[in-house]
Symmetry: D3
Subunit: 251 residues, 6 copies
């Protein structure tokens, strides 16, 4: 069985290494993991805008992965970037980590909390929980307000912030499990779990093992929910206002 | 007041004309309407894949519209293409017609139905209704199964199918109003309303007047729901597997 | 187009002037606004009891308005006094401002808050949000505890209380927009919006422009939701325990 | 203990007799039942308009009942006419039969159905179920389409229609109990229950025994949900468009 | 009419006396109350484990009660121990006090709170509210953290804790009525009600009067919701790991 | 890794063999599966009564399994027999197959259907979906009405009934995936999936792989949702009315 962990962002060596290390920890014989990033797209996903900019490149890579014979793809970002659209294009399972973690956490207790990185992405978590029909068990979403690209540099500070925000979700909002709301936090779940005393879900191992479950159980997404798009003209060309290597937005 | 009706698809003369005709019907002094289409993107929106392919071009055009001084943008497609991401990028109202029609229909009765064109897009309507927190009033979604690009050629057949599917939603699912689930059906609401005896919402006039309402009431989308994306590297480049003028998918 | 703003209370000069001033601000050519109050009924709406006392007079006026040729009626009180019953009696749109503001706010973000005047009316807002099927997006309802009839005399104090209660709804309940929960607060939305940084909906301009939208889109409430009442004996006569100019209730 | 069954309509001898007969059947020592109708108001409740026309007279009578020393009032109509407003005015329990039957049916199974008389009142049942927060267990509402005032004349036809509509709710909508959606159907529950094989709730005995429960348990409605209305001017006077003995509405 | 109050625990003299005293207070002629406990089972119900250990003995007693001619059984514990299974076995009403109190509280206001004894049972209240389809009106569940078996010894401390936790539910979670979340608190509702100013439901009188209501209205649970179990082999034998008079679990 | 598949029923050779065969199909190196049944309890689970009769024996076995060093237990019956109580007693994951299948199906589409064996167990599926907070995605539950103990003898008839009932859920209730509602149907998912064209979840492989996921991700159920029961007297003794090898209930 071959599973692709696709990071829907421009290559980030530190994150790729951390992801590879975690996958090595959970490896089983017969399963082969591959980690890839995008050659174009955003440096990180912190908005619906980033999600839309990354989408064509994610779709391109998922189509490529199926052609290469991968058995499942895990789009490694809690924004579940383009996963619905990708499911329309391929037959192999496309694992959306936020959706997957919510589903798994629903079996561990009554109400899960999500701790993410940037405050700006919090509303997206609420909207996606609703879209997936899983919001009844969502106790709340909190953020530690550290930019994704600074995660690596500030590990200790990040852990303390995770403990604090998880504690708030547990005490004030009655969360009984915690979902790490960013795949960039890979590898921190066990330590956090010991600190806060409730199950902590790291999206990387959870999603990859979920992919293995789907392949073993011979099930994938439903064609009644994700229909095959018809063939027709779809022009892909320049973007006068968005194009260019770095987009600057004035507030 | 200047309002842009942006069709998130490649230019389609017939649709642009119909849209312009309907806007002329509801025109008021002091308001100026402009109709535009995309120069790149899909020929029509019939899947989440189409939505993702169109998104960068829609965002590009919305940013451009704000720079040109438009007071509001109406993204004229019931898929509400990239409207959340667009709201992150601009301050002027970005009207999402499906969301708007659901909100308006909520004030006309207890349960609205949606009749759209292609069966393949039906699940997207359900998911978006949930995402918007408006699914409690959704009686059901039905389709007439005519490809968008053949709508114009088959107007009579389309009307009879709309009457039949609306009737089913009213009789079996207790819908008390009907939302036309495709902006390509522009101009057909009044005739359908007479035939089925409940209010029928045409997304084009409803959305444009809703844009005027927001401008007059001096309100726009919330920055607490649609945060400003931070500046950072976002590379836009070629798509080896998706690129090319026409994308063909084998089923 | 002629629209009636009907205040479902005994005439109050200050409120009529404020309403007229706000309507003048949003006036467009071709639309004519009329402001009226009741000749009998309660001095203000602060309970379900007031709502019931006002109802026959509101219904009487709405029937009269349709006969006079008005194109729509806006019942200018956030209690949405007798609007469902009125819709049974007439074909022209009867705009219920609380329902309308909730519908509009649903398109500006994910969760709106309501700030009203008297604590005693707070439960009514919750119950009506549920009745309308719009409670999923309701973050919370708060009050400033100033009697409606003293609003005019205490404008500065009112503004500070609105800022404080809006802030609480935004910070603690994650509201991303604010609905002014009393039409007596007409004209204060813009200042409040500047102070709290999220969209603030003033029911008067929102409802009147919504009425214009419905007329322009040629839609009104559904006869499947608001059936025509059959003719039969309905006696209207004296009320031994409630009648009299001023009703005093001992606590 | 003294309980008032208040029919919120003009006196109807047949209905008063049937109600009295059913109350005699369930009578216990120590409890005294009184049946009253209105001296003004509508001949029957078949719309929200009827509900609003009846409301002042119902409120007047409930205030009177508390003064006379009744321990509880049951407003005997499934429209729950003015019960919320009445609770604001008095301290004794005001039993709303539709709300009560839904609460009781929630303990007998998972999903109740409602069979009422006129199709025109069906939407009101849906809206009130939502308002009360009890709609999750509502399987559906159906009607037999017999005017209330003809119920007595057409008993056999009514029973067969009740069997048919109850059967539909049970088979197609998975209702596991049936609520009789009109107090005019008093006395028919046992026969219907035998015919359809699921519990059938007659609002009259259920509500009256519920009133006894509340009095025995020394609980009544909450002042936090139904605040005491402040004293102020409430003028009650003529209604030029609605007044007169019989109101005729053209469709 | 004969009603059995079955305490699903090993006999506890103090609790039986308190229950008998409260039943005496609400007694009416023609109704005879019997109080019984289990001869085997747990000393108290403070977990789902206790509930499962008690279940066979409760079912045994309910079957016995029907054979003895009781008209209804009230399983006197807020865990609603084995009530669904018991309904499958008998035709007489089996009153589940938590479900019943939630149903009754739904008619007294918009949102009830529950104050129970041990923190460990709090999640069970949430899960059962959902199962019953009554969670929309549940404001929150709180606990005073006194073991059930120490309730009697610490009455004053218990009352103050009830006042404090009820107050928190009222002020912070907008509860407008309070349900006592343990039948061991029998007899304390009136005092608490005076202290907190909202209705307080004592499950014992509420449930017993509810049983009388069902018998009087000739309704019981639905066979469509609680099917009769088929006859087949069900072996009852020793439990090597759980058996023994006292089970000790290491944490 | 060692995983116990515990059948909460009296030993059934055919079922144990089928289960073992399916586990062999999905086996991976490093994971060892054990299949066990109960020595006492019911012959099958077809009611809440069966569930309660089986519970003490299931709990006994789960406690034993943890002592023996198993890494997870899968209670192999779609009634999720005693899984909540079992989680209170042990630290290793206790996989509840119905809950798990609902969680997994939530990631494959928008609405799953359940096809079970006996009509009598259908309401239990609805109640448990609500309890788990997963009912929003439940399209419906259907049954083929074959007693569990005759499943093996009537395999062809069973398949055709599964195709028919799945088709009904897909066509009429918009299910886009199907959950097999009985672990006795083990091994039939792939054939059914080919016939109905949507994903079909067999609880056995799904649950076992889910157990592996939890162990690999180092997470188990939350102690905040499933508290450790305190030590105290819990007597286990004879059951005069239920005991005996075969319990016969008259309808």
């Amino acid at each position: 069985m071959r599973i692709l962990a696709l990071l829907p962002i421009l290559a980030d060596d530190a994150l790729e290494s951390e992801t590879t290390r975690e996958l090595a920890r959970i490896a089983t014989p017969n399963v082969e993991y591959t980690v890839r990033s995008l050659e174009a797209g955003p440096a990180s996903i912190e908005s619906e805008f980033d999600d839309r900019v990354a989408s064509p490149y994610v779709l391109d890579q998922v189509v490529q992965a199926e052609r290469e014979g991968f058995d499942a793809v895990f789009v490694s970002c809690m924004g579940d970037v383009a996963t619905n659209a990708a499911r329309e294009l391929v037959r192999i399972p496309v694992v959306a980590p936020y959706q997957t973690c919510m589903a798994v956490a629903s079996t561990l207790g009554d109400r899960f909390g999500v701790v993410t990185i940037m405050k700006s992405i919090v509303p997206v978590f609420l909207r996606k929980a609703r879209e997936y029909g899983l919001s009844e068990n969502l106790a709340g979403v909190s953020s530690i307000n550290v930019p994704v690209l600074e995660l690596d540099r500030r590990r200790t500070q990040v852990l303390e912030a995770l403990v604090r925000e998880s504690g708030r979700l547990i005490d004030e909002h009655h969360a009984d499990s915690i979902i790490l709301g960013c795949t960039g936090l890979v590898g921190m779940a066990s330590t956090l779990q010991e600190r806060v005393g409730v199950p902590v879900l790291d999206p990387t191992p959870v999603s990859v093992k979920f992919a293995e479950l789907l392949v073993a159980a011979r099930i994938s997404h439903s064609r009644k929910a994700f229909h095959r798009p018809p063939s027709k003209l779809r022009k892909l060309a320049d973007l006068p206002n968005l194009a260019g290597k770095s987009i600057t937005l004035e507030t």
